[in-house]
């Protein structure tokens, strides 16, 4: 049986050890690694060397497009395409457009935030390389899991295992690919 290693996996049970471990792994030059945690652990992203998310820019663009479309919609429909005199009110004015401007800004901004997030996380996905790993499955429950992937240039099965043990990882093991990848295409879990 000659199966391809996907990643070396270790469990952690204390957030302090986890953050220190992530920091060490990052400093050793590993880039293809990830920590799976049941809740966001403060400072872990910085320890892992994760770059600041660009999501706020995506949301900002969304908000601006919402505002622009609201102004355009109200001006074009009421002030240009169908000018109807109602009680002598102006066909278009910034003042009365404010509520709809605000609502559409929020709405489009929220959509950009949602879909921006899904895009940045590459979600939804029905598959994860570690989905059969028993440690990984407990990452949504009570275990912190660190996985260093085998496509990392610094990955060697011996060194990486040694590193994960030295930083306090428990149950360090290599997760192998399935022999027949199409035998089960069930979603994670």
């Amino acid at each position: 049986m000659d199966r391809k290693p996907i990643a070396t996996v270790a469990e952690f049970h204390d957030p302090n050890t986890l953050v220190a471990a992530a920091s060490t792994i990052h400093q050793r030059g590993y880039t293809k690694f990830d920590c799976y945690t049941p809740y966001p652990v403060h400072g872990l992203d910085r320890a892992m060397g994760v770059r600041r998310t660009i999501l706020p820019y995506i949301s900002f663009i969304g908000g601006l497009s919402g505002l622009a479309s609201a102004l355009l919609l109200q001006w074009w429909t009421g002030g240009y395409d169908y000018r109807l005199n109602i009680g002598g009110k102006p066909f278009f004015a910034i003042q009365f457009s404010v509520p709809v401007d605000f609502e559409l800004t929020v709405l489009i901004c929220a959509f950009f935030t949602l879909f921006g997030l899904l895009h940045l996380c590459r979600l939804p996905t029905w598959w994860h390389p570690l989905q059969d790993d028993p440690s990984f499955r407990r990452a949504t429950d009570d275990t912190f899991v660190v996985a260093i992937f085998s496509d990392d240039p610094r990955y060697t099965s011996a060194d990486t295992q040694e590193l994960l043990r030295s930083v306090g990882g428990a149950n360090v093991h290599i997760h192998y690919a399935r022999q027949n990848p199409v035998e089960d295409v069930a979603p994670i879990g």
Partner: protein
């Protein structure tokens, strides 16, 4: 197997004194305990009591839907509306339900921005309540328009008539405000739930349930690289929802204030409506949570401290509403406008005085008991007060709408309005819809934000270095688990 324990409680250091702060989660559960507790609610077979309650609320909902169909098929002549009272229970119920929803957003968004950690136990159910309340609210304007099959005319779209909607009307603003509110609340609620649905996906044994939770958890893995984006998304949505919730009830109040009717045409309405919305919403959260923590056995998570905090907010917003009642009365007299002054005197002494004084008793007088800490922590009492507040807030909207309409400028056009059985049934029906949805939610969706509660356990976050050194022995011990 879980080994992250809550070894010590957070403490405050004030001038060398050490005050033990009341813990947010009682009984020192482990991370696994929390997952198991919430997942078991979803996984266990529904009890006969639950099914009985569900069939009861579903029956009321069905009766309400039947009456809505009767209204649609016959026309809104089956209601008690007349000239001059063209807005009755329908619009009262719309404003009432929209208001109920506001506490959910307040708890989920505003308390999040203020870093109020106690919100984690109650935010999920409060957000669910928001969504169900907005669904109930949205029904009323739709059936009120009479020809519901033309309700899509409210949306600006290119059409054969070559006409556009009138953006100068607050009613059109309402279409945008309410639909945005529903959509953004849904996004916020769903996004907050994704990690918890993933927890349930990995926990439940039932194959069908696993598939369903897999689908809705979108393949969430708990990757820290994802959490990093996720926390930012949550923050942005909270930041968006905060002004949104204030805007929605403000826009609803503009439906009234933009009219020139005495009693409606006042500038105090937007803040007054928002305070009232938060007030009634918190009362509804209280009603539901007192029942839910009893029935679902969630007393370790929804503690007396949570309930007490909500009672404080009920007291504060109740006082704001009381202030608004007094102030609009004063301004009406001070304005020198005889019609305005008359409407308010008429509210307190006229045909609808019974509604006005019910409102004052329920909204202003009853919450005053919460000045006492002992009474703030009395569960049966707070349950009664929360129901009184809900009744009072419904009467507030009814008073505003009916009393202002029934006596306007000309005595020749005065009238009186009483609802018919159809209107009463539809209102009861929306309670049926609301409670049915809430019961389904409480059973099958993680009713407490699992990941958020885990994150506020005392030992959940890494300590600062200096602090960590001082508390080293208190750290949770590491126990490797066996490979399954």
């Amino acid at each position: 197997m879980a080994t992250v324990t809550t070894a010590h409680h957070p403490t405050m250091h004030v001038d060398g004194l050490r005050h033990e702060r009341e813990p947010l989660v009682l009984g020192e559960p482990t991370l696994h305990d929390i997952t198991a507790k919430i997942a078991h609610i979803a996984e266990d077979k529904p009890t006969p009591k639950y099914l009985l309650a569900l069939s009861f609320t579903a029956a009321i909902a069905a009766w309400g839907v039947g009456c809505i169909l009767y209204t649609i098929l016959t026309g809104i002549g089956v209601w008690g509306l007349n000239n001059p009272i063209g807005w009755g229970w329908d619009i009262t119920n719309f404003v009432f339900w929209i208001g109920i929803g506001h506490a959910g957003t307040l708890i989920s968004a505003i308390l999040f921005l203020f870093r109020q950690k106690w919100r984690t136990a109650i935010n999920r159910s409060a957000e669910a309540m928001t969504i169900f309340a907005v669904i109930c609210a949205g029904l009323f304007p739709l059936i009120h328009v009479g020809r519901i099959w033309f309700a899509y005319w409210l949306i600006p779209y290119p059409n054969q008539m070559q006409m556009w909607t009138n953006f100068r009307s607050p009613l059109e603003w309402d279409v945008f405000a309410v639909s945005t509110y529903l959509t953004v609340s849904l996004i916020f609620w769903f996004l907050g739930m994704v990690p918890d649905l993933a927890s349930l996906r990995d926990f439940v044994k039932n194959k069908v349930a696993k598939r369903i939770y897999s689908l809705f958890s979108l393949g969430w893995s708990g990757s820290m690289r994802h959490w990093h984006h996720y926390e930012m998304a949550y923050l942005i949505l909270a930041g968006l929802s905060t002004p949104l919730v204030l805007s929605v009830h403000s826009v609803v109040s503009l439906d009234f204030t933009a009219g020139i009717l005495p009693g409606w045409h006042t500038t105090i309405f937007p803040p007054y409506f928002v305070a009232g919305a938060i007030f009634s919403g918190f009362a509804m959260v209280m009603t539901l949570l007192v029942i839910a923590r009893e029935v679902l056995d969630l007393k370790e998570y929804v503690t007396l401290k949570h309930l007490e905090n909500m009672n404080k907010i009920i007291l504060a917003t109740g006082m704001m509403v009381g202030y608004a009642y007094a102030m609009e009365f004063f301004i009406a007299q001070y304005s020198g406008n005889p019609y305005e002054a008359f409407v308010f005197i008429n509210r307190a002494t006229g045909d609808y005085a019974w509604a006005y004084w019910t409102m004052v008793l329920c909204n202003v007088v009853s919450p005053q008991v919460f000045w006492s800490r002992r009474l703030r922590r009395n569960v049966p009492l707070m349950f009664i007060i929360s129901i009184l507040v809900n009744i009072g807030m419904w009467f507030e909207r009814f008073t505003i709408i009916a009393t202002s309409l029934h006596h306007d400028f000309l005595p020749a056009s005065w009238g009186y309005y009483t609802p018919t059985w159809v209107e009463v049934s539809i209102f009861a029906g929306t309670f049926g819809i609301f409670l049915t949805l809430f019961l389904l939610f409480a059973k099958y969706i993680p009713v407490i934000a699992i990941a958020e509660v885990k994150a506020i356990l005392p030992a959940a976050q890494p300590h600062h270095h200096a602090h960590a050194a001082a508390h080293a022995p208190e750290h949770p011990q590491v126990q490797p688990t066996q490979t399954a």
